[in-house]
Symmetry: C2
Subunit: 316 residues, 2 copies
């Protein structure tokens, strides 16, 4: 079964959910939700559900929308903290409407997620509630550790586990649990999604270093300006700590900050960091794929495998 | 039955809920949650539950904590938007830890509310999810209308209904529904709480005009600086619109901005606004009390009546 049709249903639902009695919130929410994005998390919910033998796809569409909304809420809030100007190829909410309305838009999206989830079981709600909390904890940990200049490998792993892999894992768990799959299958899909999330975030951090904003559809160089990012994967945290120890850096958000990056990372350590990041992401993607063997072969399972390969090969 | 004991349990639960794997979030959350505050919303949950014949108070304590946490989350975010420096007699989270961590603290508290609520029924979750959304909508409407200089009486009523009365109403509904009360009792308690919320917010807006920060435990004069507040209740919106039309005002947050207020409201219109605000609040408090007659007499019912009187007589 292809997930393209339910994915369209997710997109339609996302847009209908922007409705508010306050027109400004409809406008800001629609601005960010209609901009598209990869919809990776909804895909993951739908594919995990199908791979776990689920058939009632209509029941899963709102779950897929819920994870995308909570993800979007955190992006809107992150863009306030990062002074981001570009997101999903569009002006950010904070850039266009200001920080106050961006903050309220993020809050509105949080409450929308809660509202969509109320018809679902306690079990499904617990999965998403925990992941939502971990998202916020991961983001906080990242900013705090970066400011303190204390991002080592263990901290980097904890950050990406919480801020990214936890929601990926929740996606797989939601889809598979809604399919009433056996625990062994749910565990395999959770394991897949967790490692996919780690691989995805490492590549995201690499792209933050090497891609230009037009290609990414969002600001680049943000991570390194905050002393976080891929470098810490590569060399046990030394380069990361060195970057973090520098005084606050103001990025020109509209240009690729390549010269800045070269100035911050001595010698060939940028290239090394990128190479090691890719190697690590590839390893995680492989671990994601390997664990899927306990599930019955299906088109959805193949798509999950393909997704893991796409994630590490992407350039935006 | 006195609610003092369960209220202590609420306070203990609130503090235990600040626990996070990220110490900074524990610290910021404990800072704001341990500062006390009136705990009006938890009281309302507990009293509505008791007045509706509920006996399993332990089951209601987490509900009472949940509404206080979501209320606190919105205060933390509002203080970012208002540049508030004082809240519940303490330095605000944004003032002490900066806007970024204040934003994340509010988000963390939102997710904590969601987590506490997961064991409860769909019905109870729907009540709180709707109220949470309305809170955010009310706050957005207020800021947008104030910036546009378009706060008239109808808009003011919509703002205070959404940003304050809706959560008050949810408190009563949560308590009474958890008590499995007959629909007539639930409706009466909802009606009580809605009008109590309106009265409470009008008095809050009056106090913003006349009280000093030390007495309030939070910054004063914030509302009028943003062109909102009690004045619009009094004269059909003209004074409110006049204030809103003035250029942006920078408040000295640590002093009572009385001279500022006098400069903004011509002649005796401040006194008139305050008098009319008090009259309106008294009317709403009376409506709140009147509707309670369908419920059986009890100590809790008497406390609800007393609460409505306290709300309009308070000076902080």
């Amino acid at each position: 079964m292809s997930i393209e049709k339910p994915l369209r249903a997710v997109n339609e639902l996302l847009l209908s959910l922007t409705e508010s009695s306050v027109p400004l919130l409809t406008e800001t929410s629609a601005h960010i939700l209609s901009a598209g994005g990869k919809r990776l998390r909804p895909r993951l919910v739908l594919l995990a559900h199908a791979a776990a033998g689920g058939t009632d796809i209509d029941d899963v569409v709102p779950l897929a929308a819920a994870v995308e909304i909570i993800h979007t809420a955190t992006l809107v809030h992150d863009d306030i903290n990062d002074n981001g100007t570009l997101r999903r190829g569009r002006e950010t909410v904070n850039s266009r409407w200001g920080g106050t309305f961006a903050l309220l838009t993020g809050d509105f999206l949080f409450t929308k997620t809660y509202e969509i989830m109320t018809p679902y079981s306690r079990e499904l709600n617990q999965i998403l509630a925990r992941a939502s909390r971990e998202l916020v904890e991961g983001e906080t940990l990242q900013i705090k550790a970066a400011r303190d200049g204390k991002i080592d490998q263990a901290t980097y792993f904890e950050i990406i586990s919480k801020k990214t892999a936890s929601l990926f894992m929740a996606c797989a768990e939601l889809g598979a649990t809604a399919a009433q799959a056996p625990q062994e299958w749910i565990d395999a899909l959770r394991n897949y999604a967790f490692h996919l999330g780690l691989a995805f975030q490492i590549i995201d951090d690499v792209l933050d270093l090497v891609a230009d904003p037009g290609q990414l559809g969002k600001n680049a160089g943000v991570d390194i300006a905050q002393g976080r990012g891929i470098s810490v994967v590569a060399d046990g945290g030394e380069a990361g700590a060195a970057v973090a120890a520098k005084p606050a850096i103001t990025l020109d958000q509209d240009t690729a900050p390549a010269p800045l990056k070269e100035g911050l990372l001595p010698g060939d350590s940028l290239d090394k960091a990128i190479q090691k990041g890719h190697a690590k992401a590839k390893e995680y993607a492989q671990r994601a794929i390997d664990g899927l063997n306990v599930l019955p072969e299906s088109a959805a399972l193949d798509e999950l495998r393909a997704l893991a390969r796409t994630v590490i090969e992407r350039d935006h």
